[in-house]
């Protein structure tokens, strides 16, 4: 007879100590590995801690399970709608969507997939309309200097995307299918197939999204402001993510491939004619790695990445065909040691990364290449063995080709447990993109990197009584000074050329509130979850003007109520007016939109019990089925708004979604 104990999961505490984590899932504790014991033939599966991707004293945000589930049939934009201090500039639904953090530019937001830098070496940013929200179960943001642990260039911060499937013996097979249909020809399908054995697991995620986007809008630029329908805004994308994990004793070996293809038309503005513009993308991203957890507690990780990204822009009327292709090879290794408060000083982490990019485009005379070598070390100090107060110091040095970066750094102090105070100063930089340096005509190979200094401080009050009962409030301020900000300016004739001309200072204040509890006075089974974020941001250039498309005020609030099988979610976001010209002479108005979703769970209605082996009476296997039906109203107040001037966004729309879960469960007795 074999008795299997459930895994004991304890969080990776050393790296989380003092961190200001919005998720509420990362409370400080000691770093211990998790172990699964099996009596009889003993099997020990060491559960390696997740890679530390945040630093003490820095601000971090993690998406919660509700938000992840909500974005399952959407794109990456839907994953970050409720994120604090993030502004998404969206041309149309499905069109280009670029994120920017804390009032900086989109190029100052670095995006990482499985810890590998993902921003295009040509454009220096990411389009969040590409990729499905169903592919990731770990989504987060590291603000300001806290992003230096992952890499340089994230002057505003860094966005993290990760899918991490753990071997789950109690649920060896799980299938999840999601189907959504909505207004304006919107159809979204997703299928997840998860398989877990003792040391091996596999996860397959597939998706297909398509929409006509022919929504009506009021054309305020035409005589009589008629109602028109948006033309040429259809998009289709499909793709998937496959991952394999194998955990032989103290090792974890994994391989993941994320691939997708998209085709979309680019609609005109209210004031322009359709030029027959379209864009297609074909992207394949691969990562393979090996992690080793040593008996003494430290871990060594290594990984290799290869990205191939092809983009083709077409303009039929202008006769423009502009294909571009880049390859990125990444190799990195890191050493991590969980710091504990029982050791006053420790070199906690160190890592080395090599990136090789090569790109071809009609805008380059020849293949453009660049090599990056980046190394960092992170040390943590504690004031005394029993104190919660501590210091952290990170130093990072980069080498682009033969050009060294300035010495980059992050110094933070944190203290307190229930009421935490944290502050940090940092020095960051961003190297010019390949387009900045080599685009023909106009590229400027003599550009200097953008350099920044940042500082922030904040207070966090948090309490957790039970998993469903969690309260947190955060209030903080930040300051970022960016010198040699790159701007494309008119040069000779019609040629534009990038120059280091701008000096931008971004200052702001952030407030975040999370309340998660049971409304036991009304009904014992009524739970609520409330999340509120507000950011004031003042980003001014050297002439004292607010940066274009940078709102001063952003806020969002999400309220979720769950009563037995029913759940109701309301989400409201607000963006203040945004200037569209550098001298702030023109602007588009602020907007607020609200979404309402009602869901009904019909889970566990049918269970199939059977014995796996007649001789083994203790082990039963069950197949469960669960259904989750959701009805959503987007932009429920039918607000007319634009996030880019003269590019209308949809009014009220509807969607219906069904999730079907099937899983086989091992029942241990």
């Amino acid at each position: 007879m074999r008795i299997r104990l459930l895994p004991i999961w304890l969080c990776w505490a050393g790296s989380l100590l003092g961190q200001v984590d919005s998720s509420g899932k990362g409370l400080p504790d000691e770093g211990l590995e998790s172990v699964t014991h099996s009596l009889g033939p003993v099997i020990i599966v060491y559960q390696l801690p997740a890679a530390p991707r945040t630093m003490p004293g820095g601000l971090a945000w993690e998406s919660d399970a509700l938000a992840l589930d909500h974005a399952r049939t959407g794109t990456l934009t839907d994953l970050f709608r409720a994120a604090p201090s993030l502004s998404l500039k969206r041309y149309t639904p499905g069109g280009l969507a670029s994120p920017s953090l804390r009032g900086t530019a989109a190029g100052h937001t670095q995006v990482y997939w499985e810890g590998l830098p993902m921003n295009s070496p040509m454009l220096g940013q990411q389009d969040f309309s590409l990729g499905s929200g169903s592919l990731f179960n770990q989504v987060g943001i590291r603000y300001g200097g806290n992003s230096l642990l992952l890499g340089a260039g994230g002057i505003g911060g860094a966005i993290l995307l990760s899918s991490s499937q753990q071997s789950n013996y109690s649920k060896p097979i799980a299938i999840k299918y999601s189907q959504q249909v909505g207004s304006f020809g919107s159809v979204s399908s997703g299928l997840n197939l998860d398989f877990s054995a003792k040391r091996f697991s596999s996860s397959t995620k597939l998706y297909l999204q398509t929409a006509k986007n022919d929504f009506p809008f009021r054309n305020s630029t035409a005589i009589g402001a008629p109602i028109e329908r948006l033309q040429d805004a259809n998009f289709t994308q499909w793709g998937g993510l496959q991952e394999f994990n194998w955990q032989p004793r103290r090792w974890r070996l994994y391989a993941k491939t994320w691939a997708f293809q998209s085709a979309r038309s680019l609609p005109p503005t209210m004031l322009t004619l359709s030029m027959g513009e379209s864009q297609s993308d074909l992207v394949v991203r691969n990562v393979a790695g090996a992690d080793y957890l040593a008996p003494k507690g430290y871990s060594i990780r290594s990984k290799f990445g290869y990205f191939r990204e092809f983009m083709h822009y077409r303009n039929q009327h202008a006769g423009i065909e502009s294909p571009s292709l880049f390859h990125r090879f990444t190799a990195e290794c890191s050493y991590e040691k969980p710091a504990t408060r029982f050791r006053v000083f420790r070199i906690a982490d160190a890592g080395l990364r090599y990136v090789h990019d090569q790109a071809t485009s009609t805008g380059f005379v020849s293949t453009a290449k660049q090599d990056l070598l980046s190394a960092y070390g992170l040390a943590k100090f504690f004031v005394s063995p029993r104190s919660s107060a501590g210091w952290s110091l990170l130093m990072r040095q980069e080498l682009y080709g033969s050009q060294p970066s300035p010495l980059l750094g992050y110094l933070a102090f944190h203290t307190g447990r229930k009421l935490q105070f944290s502050t940090n100063v940092s020095r960051n930089y961003r190297y010019p993109t390949l387009n900045d340096r080599y685009w023909n005509p106009g590229g400027n190979p003599n550009l200097k990197p953008e350099k920044s200094l940042g500082a922030e401080m904040g207070l966090t009050l948090q309490s957790q009584y039970r998993p469903w009962k969690y309260n947190k409030a955060y209030a903080g301020v930040y300051w970022t000074d960016v010198q040699d900000w790159i701007q494309w300016l008119p040069s000779t004739g019609n040629i534009w050329r990038p120059e280091n001309v701008q000096h931008v200072v971004a200052r702001g204040a952030e407030v975040q509130l999370t309340l998660n509890n049971r409304l036991w006075r009304i009904a014992d089974s009524l739970y609520y979850d409330l999340r509120l974020n507000y950011t004031f941001n003042d980003s001014r250039d050297q002439n004292g003007y607010q940066l274009i498309y940078t709102p001063r005020h952003t806020a969002n609030i999400r309220i979720t109520l769950r009563l037995r099988r029913w759940d109701l979610q309301y989400f409201q976001e607000y963006n203040s007016a945004r200037y569209t010209t550098a001298d702030n002479s023109l602007r588009i108005w602020g907007f607020t939109t609200g979404d309402l979703t009602l869901g009904l769970r019909l889970g566990n209605l049918w269970r199939l019990h059977f014995k796996e082996k007649p001789s083994n009476e203790g082990l039963h296997r069950k197949i469960f089925q669960g259904y989750h039906l959701q009805f959503g109203i987007r932009n429920i107040w039918n607000a007319e708004y634009e996030t880019v001037a003269y590019r209308p966004m949809p009014g009220r729309s509807f969607c219906l979604r069904l999730d079907v879960d099937l899983w086989k469960q091992n029942n241990e007795r």
Partner: protein, 361 residues
Amino acid sequence: MKDSHLRMDERNIFRGQRTILGWAAIVMSSCLLWGTGCKEKPNPEVPFDYENGLLVVNEGNFQGGNASLDFVRRSDDSLRTDIFTSVNDRPLGDVAQSITVIGNRAYVVVNNSGKVEVVDLPALESHCTITGLQSPRYLLDIGGNRALVTDLYADAIAVVNLENCQVESHIAVGAWTEQMRILGSKVFVAEMGSDQLLVLDVPSRTLVDSFGVGREPNSMAVDRDGKLWVLCGNALGQSVPQLVRVNPDSMAVEATFAFSSATQAPTRLCINPAGDRLYFLNGGIFQMGISDGHLPTQAWVPKGSHNWYGLAIDPVTGLVYASDALDYQRRGNIYRFSPSTGAQLAVFEAGIIPGDFAFLP
């Protein structure tokens, strides 16, 4: 005892959360009110006669939808900005390329909107909108209530009926066509996408001839002797730009003045009312006599920190107007210069990328 203590604790927490929930509701409802109902109404326009002054066409940013019209009155130098929107309560469009005044109407060619906005003068009220154009650049009156419109992408010149504001027909050409000049019964068209000057016959509205002048002809002027000057600007830096003088009767190039380097990109050729002095932009503002044997080596008005973008000569006063587009991202400036000394006489703040001008009697 322990349980009651816990319940008290929970009750206190609940009270605190209830307060916070209340605040959250207030914030949310404020957001609703804040965002949905706040649209500024433009100030009602007081009727105004746009005459005896200068109309400035501000291109605006590509796909920015911020093209506009400004007006400077000659008598008192008073400036009125964004007058098309003020009068007609809608934006002008996306990339306003040029303006032509025919009789008591002004025709504003809005390139990226594929249209020509027609306004009645002096009130500037919208008369009609000419649509059906692909990427229009310049409009030329050819008489008989007809006009020609050149185009960037259409590979055709549109013939427009000015009475009914309709595109009547097209004249096929080979490439991007830019400025036009009418001399007698011929229209000379700068085919910017090649090195050709096209010749159209006005009565038959057909293409009758073409001849080479230099790469990328962008602008033209007619001097007092009836000679046609053509500036071949080389905007993409592929060859050395040149200024050529053409005999419009024989359609022969009489003189060629080559610039010193392929990195130069001269534009906006124009001529003074007397027809004896040419002006163009080449970094700075340059002036050249029609009988000079060579190109000027010194700028009449140096570039300095300016981004000279538009240039025009007042046909009545001979005053020189040039626009500074700055970095194309903010409102530009209009400068007025003395034609005799080149001294700066006045400066006005215009809209985004001021590019073309029209002088109203």
